[in-house]
């Protein structure tokens, strides 16, 4: 019955993959970009680049004290202050605050107000940096990959979750159906039509199988309590909030005492935490500053553990005494946190992060080659019909069009988002959502054009547009910022993310350009072959694409 199993799994693999591949392309591409969301956000705020270029001489404790001074000036009555201290991914100090909500503010109004309640500080000057342009930066791409867009977040999460289940089934069925998974481990035969697409699909899939399996299962786990409420219902009944605080920890901030009291100096607290952990705290959160019930929480940077949980130490905000530390959690909860942590990869240092990024690109390539392979195979069955002047079926045409729209169209969308960041005037109203809308305008145009004319010429056109737009970003940088590659490559460690961004989009653009060239090259070769065959008088045969 083994062949029956392989056959049924092949069917499952094809359909589980095909039905959601275009959604998965979006999720994979946006998710892969999200590994570098901080760097992308930084790149998209060129006003901050000058400050980042100057090396900081401030010790972390002094940076924190600077931030507290600024926050005392700007938001002495806030309910909560958050300070992100500089690290290798963020060379500047981020300070934010939450004001007590005014009467009658809607959730959207409150969220919009929060966007303005922050300031970026330059540790080398002690002053606030120039106000960066309003942009969602990398956070847009991060949210896109699980909330989608233009819909309530919960719908997006369900759609992506269902897509992830399809993907999980596709991966497992793919492994079962792959007859020669070990014998063909290193097999890659280019220029052999359908077989080459299959080899490419196998190479991107099998040789990063641990990553693909991990990223899919862990992705589902991040929202698993939403997707599968049954066990919670069984044990907690209707007390879902109790379950959340049991599993995720209690985030109650306590009430203010409404008695004014000066805030203690946080430098000794930072030093105490630093001694206990062996590493400087990454983040400071102060609840009810300047109140008798003030609390200072210090968060440990992620790095050694897979878990996404951030151990913290809580100090009394008035006396400076250590009140509590996060206790180690049970094995089960630690396992969940590690699984979650594997997905968001906060622990990843630059090397590991780059490896994750490459595997994410491979995942996108895996989905793309799978979809293309299906189109090539189906087209084979129409070979005779097409040769005698007929047309391919509706399914093949639709898949071809969707493939162009997603595989060639999505890179155009990403590029458009970055171009919009540079070109939209800074004073544009709702600038952040305007930037995001350009992602979808570009994608929509590409997808629509693809539906109208799903031809090889359209492939070359869209791949070329994507190549020009992506590779053109570093060039655009020259005219729109003062931190283009000429500056960022030699500007010191603070500007390295900016340089890296320019180089990565340049490489990706070059790849797309090569693909467009290769398609044209193949077409010319095929035409030449057909010509010689016609000259020789033999009937032309339909070759595999």
């Amino acid at each position: 019955m083994k062949d029956g199993l392989r056959q049924s799994m092949a069917w499952v693999h094809t359909w589980a993959g095909l039905l959601v591949c275009w959604l998965l392309l979006l999720v994979f591409m946006a998710g892969t970009a999200a590994y570098y969301r901080h760097e992308i956000t930084f790149w998209m705020k060129p006003e901050l680049h000058a400050a980042a270029a100057a090396p900081s001489t401030l010790a972390p404790a002094q940076s924190a004290q600077l931030a507290v001074r600024v926050l005392q000036e700007r938001a002495p009555g806030a309910t909560r202050w958050t300070i992100d201290l500089p690290d290798e991914r963020n060379p500047l100090i981020q300070a934010a605050w939450q004001n007590p909500p005014k009467e009658g503010m809607s959730r959207a109004e409150r969220r919009n107000a929060l966007r303005d309640q922050n300031v970026t500080l330059d540790p080398s000057t002690g002053l606030a940096t120039a106000k960066p342009r309003d942009t969602r930066g990398g956070e847009f791409l991060y949210r896109l990959h699980f909330d989608l867009h233009y819909m309530p977040a919960i719908w997006g999460r369900w759609i992506v979750g269902i897509g992830a289940m399809f993907m999980l089934v596709a991966i497992i069925s793919g492994v079962i159906t792959h007859k020669r998974i070990f014998k063909d481990f290193f097999t890659f035969r280019p220029k052999k039509g359908q077989r080459s697409w299959l080899d490419a699909h196998n190479a991107t899939a099998v040789l990063a199988l641990p990553f693909h399996l991990m990223i899919t299962y862990t992705g589902i786990v991040t929202l698993m309590f939403i997707y599968m409420p049954a066990p919670t219902k069984a044990l907690y009944g209707d007390e879902q909030n109790t379950m959340f605080s049991d599993v995720f920890g209690n985030f109650e901030r306590g009430k203010p005492a409404d008695i004014a009291a000066p805030l203690a100096d946080i430098a000794p607290m930072l030093q105490q935490a630093g001694r206990a952990w062996g590493v400087t705290p990454a983040r400071v959160a102060i609840s009810h500053p300047n109140d008798a019930a003030a609390r200072v929480e210090l968060y440990r940077p992620s790095g050694q553990q897979l878990s996404n949980l951030e151990p913290s130490m809580t100090f009394d905000g008035v006396s400076g005494a250590l009140l509590s530390e996060t206790l180690p959690v049970s094995t089960a909860l630690a396992t969940r946190a590690a699984i979650y942590g594997m997905h968001v990869a906060h622990f990843a240092d630059p090397l590991l992060r780059a490896l994750f990024f490459v595997c994410g690109l491979a995942g996108s390539a895996m989905v793309a080659t799978g979809a293309l392979l299906w189109g090539v195979r189906e087209r084979q069955s129409y070979a005779k019909i097409v040769a005698s002047g007929g047309r391919v079926g509706f399914g093949v045409r639709l898949v071809d069009a969707l493939n162009i729209g997603a595989i060639a169209g999505l890179p155009i969308a990403f590029a458009a988002y970055f171009w919009a960041n540079r070109l939209l005037p800074v004073e544009t109203a709702q600038r952040a959502s305007a930037e995001a809308s350009w992602f979808f305008i570009a994608w929509g145009a590409a997808a629509l054009l693809a539906q109208i004319r799903p031809t090889r010429a359209m492939w070359r056109f869209q791949l070329t547009v994507g190549a020009v737009l992506l590779a053109g970003i570093p060039v655009l940088n020259v005219f729109t910022t003062s931190s283009h590659l000429g500056v960022s490559l030699f500007g010191g460690p603070g500007l390295r993310p900016v340089a890296a961004f320019d180089i990565v989009v340049l490489v990706l653009g070059a790849l797309l350009g090569w693909a467009a060239w290769w398609l044209g090259h193949k077409a010319k070769k095929k035409a030449a072959k057909k010509q010689t065959a016609a000259d020789a008088g033999s009937t032309s045969t339909m070759e595999p694409v």
Binding site: I176, M228, P231, A234, D246, V247
Partner: protein, 95 residues
């Protein structure tokens, strides 16, 4: 290759419903039972059970499509759900 008859289409539809819908129900019932059965603190039990239910779900889906006939698939899933449901009801876990 199988010819695309109505019988074939019916089989595929039945398996798809059994896999996606029935599989989810099976994973949910199984998860609930595991949560109740584990002799751990509530938070631990609910976490492990929910993690495991997403292992059960794809296994059921694959089994539904691998098994010999669509009838077997539907009966298998339905029967398992019935048994799990009955146990749950006895244990008093059903809301």
């Amino acid at each position: 290759m199988t010819t695309i008859t109505w019988r074939y289409r019916g089989g595929v539809t039945a398996r798809t419903v059994a896999a996606i819908g029935g599989g989810y129900l099976l994973a949910a019932l199984g998860g609930a039972l595991i949560a109740l059965a584990l002799p751990l603190a509530r938070a631990d039990a609910v976490t492990i059970a929910t993690l495991l239910s997403f292992v059960i779900y794809p296994c059921v889906i694959l089994w539904v499509f691998a098994t010999r006939s669509a009838l077997r698939a539907c009966v298998g899933v339905a029967a398992t759900c019935a048994v799990l449901g009955a146990i749950l009801w006895c244990v008093g876990g059903m809301a």
